[in-house]
Symmetry: C2
Subunit: 145 residues, 2 copies
Amino acid sequence: MSETATHAPTKVQLLELLAAIGTAQWREFAAAAAQHGLTPTQARVLAQLDGPVPMRGLAVLLVCDASNVTGIVDRLEARELVRREPDPADRRVKNVVATEAGRQVIRRVREEMQAAHGALDTLDEAESATLYGLLARLRPSMEKG
Amino acid sequence: MSETATHAPTKVQLLELLAAIGTAQWREFAAAAAQHGLTPTQARVLAQLDGPVPMRGLAVLLVCDASNVTGIVDRLEARELVRREPDPADRRVKNVVATEAGRQVIRRVREEMQAAHGALDTLDEAESATLYGLLARLRPSMEKG
DNA sequence: CCCAGATGTTTGATGTCATCAAGTAACTCG
DNA sequence: CGAGTTACTTGATGACATCAAACATCTGGG
């Protein structure tokens, strides 16, 4: 049998395993970002920019102070990966938009992440589906805090 | 049986889900650490200190420059959560040991993490075992990088 | 035994991220 | 309109992170 299911793990073991995988993934992301001269935080911001996002919105997404976002976007803008546009509806807000260069860079970072992940190929379709289902059930209570 | 298995998710979806759970877990860890006046990094160091660990060893565990560890341990030592002891076998190395206070603090941080995690109670034993098995298989290739 | 090279730790310079407090401009609503 | 909220920025400060360089100590081959 698939000896996938071993004995019942403790909560702690499961949490530690999740943590280990989480940090491994984070390190890969950081490494991929670094290859393009980005800090992990900068890459994270770029990853959020599907469309225009106000500064405040970024602060919410990153769960950090708004004043922090100013600096991060400053540095991204200095490298032309991002642009600040005035919001037509509210003159207080500035919307952040990825430039073409910015979109390309983050796309490459994502590609490298996937490439590095033959990891998932060790699972067949049924297993992926099972894993996905279990994790999806875990997610909401993990995010509640 | 468990109708946990939905349709086959894409690799990307699965990776994003893992990432979401990873950051949720990280944020909880950071929050728990903060309640005891620790930065996430400081808490992470304390978590490694089951026994004496040389500075260099910490740098390896944290995957960072050795000079960085100096500062982190300086701050922990200033708060008496940690001590530097000379290594009897090699006079170059200094072993870092958690003080009693240090052990207590990190124990509480861990407790708060678990408490916050009724998350895992949504899984029955069989499901936990399955999840653990699948994640355990994923882990090695994720860490290869 | 002894010296050249490797290793462990620290210091100093620099840059990014994080917070908080305060300031300015613009919106909202009674 | 004016009081209060909201969006963004600036400035101060502290924790991480890296690199380069200094220093003491270990190690191995001659």
